[in-house]
């Protein structure tokens, strides 16, 4: 990531919680 005086990025926590393999089934009913 590039140096930027006015924009300080946070580093994502990689590899721990990948999203589910596909899109969610139905948010109002499942929410996973």
């Amino acid at each position: 990531m590039s140096e930027n005086k006015h924009i300080k990025k946070v580093s994502p926590q990689k590899g721990k919680d990948e999203p589910k393999k596909g899109p969610r089934t139905c948010l109002p009913l499942e929410g996973t």
Partner: protein, 445 residues
């Protein structure tokens, strides 16, 4: 809270805290200087305009402007789209279309019947449908069934028969089976949980909160209290962790009931895995939607103060945004409707959404006859495109929103209602604030 925008960048300023920026294409979160924040154009939560820099700020801090332009033009090679499986890997099954409760906001036709009471689904007719979908799976695929109703635990034997059949059909094929049971919990007994234990299902318990709330929102059919029976089922589920996978609480809030904090405080006394707090999918009441949002934001604050990221992420909504942000994955599809998900009603008709079952004109098939042509757009195009969300900064986390909500509120599944988008954006901004807070503890770059 103040919100500003510059193309793919949105930024928020809460009180005296440093502004937080989000680059929606790059899936990056950053702390921003006040000068950079002021160089963005003011906007609002009910707006989705693709804005340029604030013309009033153009002569101010040149370095801030350069830094902003650089961030906007950057391409993060780590950011990617969530790849959709081009096959159905998730089904919802209406095991019954009757219910012993009469929830005030029931989206299943008002009484769990979807307008057509069916006491039991035919297992005999359902198994060949499952076989059809499972025959298309390959080694390494997952296959998930969500058992719905009405109340699915009025017919638990069907769940066991379906699981036994699935085991036979996937034996030796390296297909991972999983199940969810969405239940009001009132019929649960120890014997029933034992019977269902081979499924190792996730239970989503539809439960709105303490007694006064639960009895007001989810009464029995005769108007009586459901609280004690629901609590009994809840306690049995808590007690028998060995017979299930996760236990989620699903609470619905409405135009007349937005007390999310009371529900959270009530449920947080119990060792549940997650809370799913949702707003009535048929309500377009903007004030109530805003009240629900404020309550949920207060709950987020409380949860984070109590247990940091881990406690906050027990609220499913925040967990899903954290996952996307950590993996820098753009979710361009709010749900898998027509892509990875289909729904089967108790008469074995097929739909692209479990909530559409009340409207028979939305049928896309029946038994083994699936009219894939009738939903080819849904199957092949991203919802953010179908729902015209290309200019919205929240698109990569929202995924175009719930089409059933859009249909309910505007009469068109691809046209959004402002109260829904405003709620989504507000909650996403809250998620971004806590994501920043949690990750900034480890340092900024």
């Amino acid at each position: 809270m103040e919100i500003r925008r510059y193309k793919d960048i949105v930024a928020f300023k809460w009180g005296q805290k440093a502004p937080i920026g989000f680059h929606s294409r790059n899936m990056e979160v950053a702390e921003m200087s006040l000068e950079a924040f002021q160089a963005l154009s003011p906007t609002a939560m009910d707006q989705a305009e693709f804005l340029n820099l604030n013309p009033d700020a153009l002569s101010s801090d040149l370095q801030a402007l350069r830094d902003l332009r650089q961030w906007q033009d950057d391409v993060n090679p780590e950011a990617k789209d969530l790849i959709l499986p081009q096959k159905i890997r998730s089904l919802t099954l209406n095991v019954t279309q009757i219910c012993n409760l009469h929830c005030t906001y029931c989206a299943a036709g008002g009484d769990g019947t979807y307008g057509e009471a069916v006491v039991k689904l035919s297992v005999e007719k359902t198994l060949p449908q499952l076989q059809l979908f499972m025959s298309r799976l390959e080694a390494g695929d997952t296959f998930h069934i969500t058992f719905l109703g009405g109340e699915p635990l009025l017919y638990p034997e069907a769940l066991v028969a379906i699981h036994n059949y699935n085991l036979l059909m996937t034996a030796g094929r390296q297909i991972e089976l999983s199940y969810s049971i969405i239940t009001n919990g009132t019929l649960i007994t120890e014997e029933m949980l034992r019977l269902l234990s081979p499924l190792k299902a996730q239970y989503t318990l539809s439960f709105d909160g303490p007694k006064d709330i639960q009895d007001k929102m989810r009464p029995q059919k005769n108007g009586g209290s459901s609280f004690e029976q629901t609590m009994r089922g809840f306690e049995l589920l808590l007690q028998h962790k060995e017979w299930r996978s996760r236990l989620l609480i699903h609470s619905v809030f409405t135009a007349t009931q937005t007390a999310v904090k009371r529900s959270y405080l009530f449920f947080s006394e119990f060792p549940v895995d997650a809370y799913e707090f949702t707003f009535d999918v048929t309500s377009g009441d903007r004030e109530a939607s805003q009240a629900f949002t404020r309550e949920l934001q207060e709950v987020a604050e409380l949860a984070y103060a109590r247990g940091g990221e881990q406690e906050l992420r027990k609220i499913t909504l925040f967990d899903q945004y954290f996952r996307l942000l950590d993996s820098q994955t753009r979710n361009l599809n709010h749900c898998g409707s027509g892509k990875s998900l289909l729904s089967i009603d108790s008469k074995n008709r097929i739909f692209t959404c479990p909530l559409e079952v009340s409207d028979k004109s939305k049928t896309v098939g029946s038994a083994l006859d699936i009219k894939e042509e009738s939903y080819k757009d849904l199957a092949s195009k991203n919802l953010v495109d179908l729902n015209s969300c290309q200019n919205c900064w929240a698109q990569s986390l929202c995924g175009g929103g719930c089409m059933f909500v859009h249909q309910s509120l505007t009469g068109n599944k691809h046209r959004k209602d402002v109260s829904y988008c405003e709620r989504q954006r507000n909650l996403i901004s809250t998620a971004l604030l806590y994501y920043y807070t949690a990750r900034a503890e480890k340092g900024l770059c």
